[in-house]
């Protein structure tokens, strides 16, 4: 029988990864999600985790007293957070990749009035990509363009089957495109990865590069592309013949795309890997059409770079201690700043650095007061001194997010969520007002 109480939301945008799938259908009964269609495993879990049977969800603000977190009123919790931030000498404002652009914009203002370091999650993922783009530019397009035109798809140091589960089906490999009517049969798929990843198991050609030796392989490909014969039998564990074969594959396609992931940015050469990849892509355009696309992780990490950029001129690692924004990754990046132990208060918005940072950085962060703006219990909120619980963006609140190819998409609201919780945006506004009063700004 048809349940008249079911409200079906269509064209819902998934707030998980940078693919920002916008075709979800979510059924809601009495403000509880009962069914999610079209999403991947992870996206489905996000919607079900917002339900009231999830014991990890915070229902009121929390303040740490005598070593334990205790429920508090919004006035108490915001006052405590504002006092900590207003009195801090070197505050850190970190996160921003899993919230909406409007909240990020207010976060920039909060950093300006507190004179803090402002950084986002790209600092520990695709920050090197941004630095490489600043050095070398980047030839790229949108996911729709790749879908309709690409006949050569290269995944380098990324594993979309795990990290972007619907990417292959929606944009890159299996999907039929305007000029690729037969989907995957019209495309050649290459995976370059040290492991035979689940993505590599689907590939037409898997090139098993040695770990941390991608830079050498890019250089070898560029050498062969220039018509120079390689002297070495093997480069990065790959035989010379296979490198020459890959160059032929690249030159002979009509439209090629390199999708690359953290395999390039997290290994020793960091941004130099990406810069070499961009140079290879640029040089391939002497022969055919070739583009390159970073596989961004969190759903709005591209948006945090964009919003920071149009507010301050810089995409990440920004220091406001002199009252104006300065940019120097490596110095103002979050992990090096924590390793120098110069941060005295941290506010984390929509992120979980205690889970994601190297142990030495976590140790220094937890020496000092920590404020967490977060809907669920996470290691960061569980070890924080003030917890400000929020409505989940993309589920219980609207907002703007930027897909990995920098296309802005409006997030939908499918339910109201628990009573008495604020959105990220409202919390930022209230903190800004409270700190302005304290500092007479």
């Amino acid at each position: 029988m048809i349940n008249k109480h079911v409200k079906t939301h269509t064209d819902v945008v998934c707030p998980f990864c940078g693919s920002l799938c916008d075709d979800l259908e979510v059924d809601v009964v009495n403000d509880e999600v009962v069914e999610v269609r079209n999403a991947c495993k992870i996206g489905t879990q996000i919607y079900f985790s917002s339900n009231s049977d999830n014991s990890d969800r915070y229902t009121s603000p929390m303040i740490r007293k005598d070593g334990e977190l205790h429920p508090a009123t919004w006035e108490e919790a915001l006052e405590k957070a504002a006092t900590l931030l207003a009195n801090a000498k070197r505050p850190l404002l970190y996160g921003w990749s899993s919230t909406e652009a409007e909240a990020i914009q207010l976060g920039v203002e909060l950093a300006e009035i507190t004179g803090g370091i402002l950084d986002n999650c790209s600092s520990i993922c695709h920050g090197p990509s941004i630095m490489a783009m600043q050095d070398a530019g980047i030839p790229k397009s949108t996911l729709g363009d790749y879908k309709n035109r690409a006949d050569l798809v290269i995944f380098w140091g990324c594993n979309p089957v795990h990290a972007h589960p619907r990417h292959l089906g929606r944009y890159s490999e299996f999907i039929r495109g305007y000029f690729r009517k037969d989907g995957l049969n019209d495309r050649f798929m290459v995976v370059i990865d040290p492991r035979t990843t689940h993505t590599a198991q689907l590939a037409d050609l898997h090139i098993k590069v040695n770990p941390s030796e991608d830079y050498e392989l890019f250089s070898a490909l560029r050498t062969v592309l220039k018509g120079i014969e390689l002297e070495e039998e093997y480069v990065s564990g790959i035989p010379r013949e296979q490198i020459e074969q890959l160059v032929e594959v690249m030159k002979s396609c009509n439209y090629g795309v390199i999708y690359y992931g953290l395999g390039l940015t997290h290994s020793l050469s960091h941004h130099r890997n990406v810069e070499n990849a961009i140079c290879l892509t640029r040089e391939l355009n002497d022969h055919t059409k070739f583009l390159i696309q970073p596989m961004r992780g969190h759903y709005n990490v591209a948006g945090s770079n964009i919003v920071f950029s149009w507010n301050t001129g810089y995409p990440l690692a920004i220091d406001f201690s002199r009252g104006y924004p300065r940019y120097n990754p490596g110095e103002y990046s979050v992990v090096p700043a924590l390793l120098r132990d110069e941060i005295d208060v941290t506010i984390v918005v929509a992120s979980d650095p205690v889970l994601n940072f190297p142990a030495a950085a976590v140790e220094n962060m937890l020496k000092h007061p920590l404020i967490s703006v977060e809907p669920h219990e996470t290691p960061t909120s569980a070890l924080a001194d003030v917890v400000l619980p929020v409505k989940i963006c993309g589920v219980e609140a609207e907002g703007t997010a930027y897909r990995m190819d920098n296309v802005p998409i409006r997030l939908r609201k499918v339910k109201d969520g628990p009573n008495g919780l604020l959105t990220d945006r409202e919390i930022m506004k209230r903190l800004i007002n409270a700190i302005k009063q304290k500092k007479n700004l």
């Binding site: 594993n159 795990h162 992990v335 142990a359 976590v362 020496k367 290691p379 569980a382």
Partner: protein
């Protein structure tokens, strides 16, 4: 038994992603992220049963995780730990001056430990909260 001169790679896995969204402090998350994935041949040399806790150590730290066989093998000489607090005990925090820590490519050693215990998320991290 022990294995030396392995290369440690960390990264995202779908079951770990689902467990992240379901609750990072729950046991399901430990089972998804507190594991070390081995190539079959490497694991044979270790001489233990699948699921036995092993101690993984690098220059930067050590941690006890469950051992399992990798579905994304063969990758002899490489071990994989999903991104998470267990992996982060082992990664290189240094960024070579550019800001992003080196999460992949550390030299690692693995030992089977008698009565090894894999700590839960909060139990592993709360030692840092003074």
């Amino acid at each position: 038994m022990s294995l030396e001169n392995l290369v440690l790679i960390t990264g995202q896995q779908i079951d770990q992603g689902v467990a992240l969204e379901a609750g990072k402090t729950k046991q399901k998350y430990v089972q998804a992220a507190g594991v070390c994935k081995f190539d079959k041949e490497d694991f044979r040399k270790l001489g233990c049963l699948i699921g036995t806790p092993v101690k993984v150590s690098t220059e930067y730290g050590e941690v006890v995780v469950y051992s399992i066989l990798s579905e994304e093998a063969p990758h002899p000489g490489i071990i994989f730990i999903p991104a998470g607090p267990w992996a982060n005990q082992l990664v290189n925090p240094d960024s070579q001056g550019m800001g992003t820590p080196t999460y992949k490519g550390m030299k690692a050693k693995v030992e089977v430990v008698e009565n090894g215990k894999v700590l839960g998320t909060i139990a592993l991290l709360k030692k840092y909260k003074k």
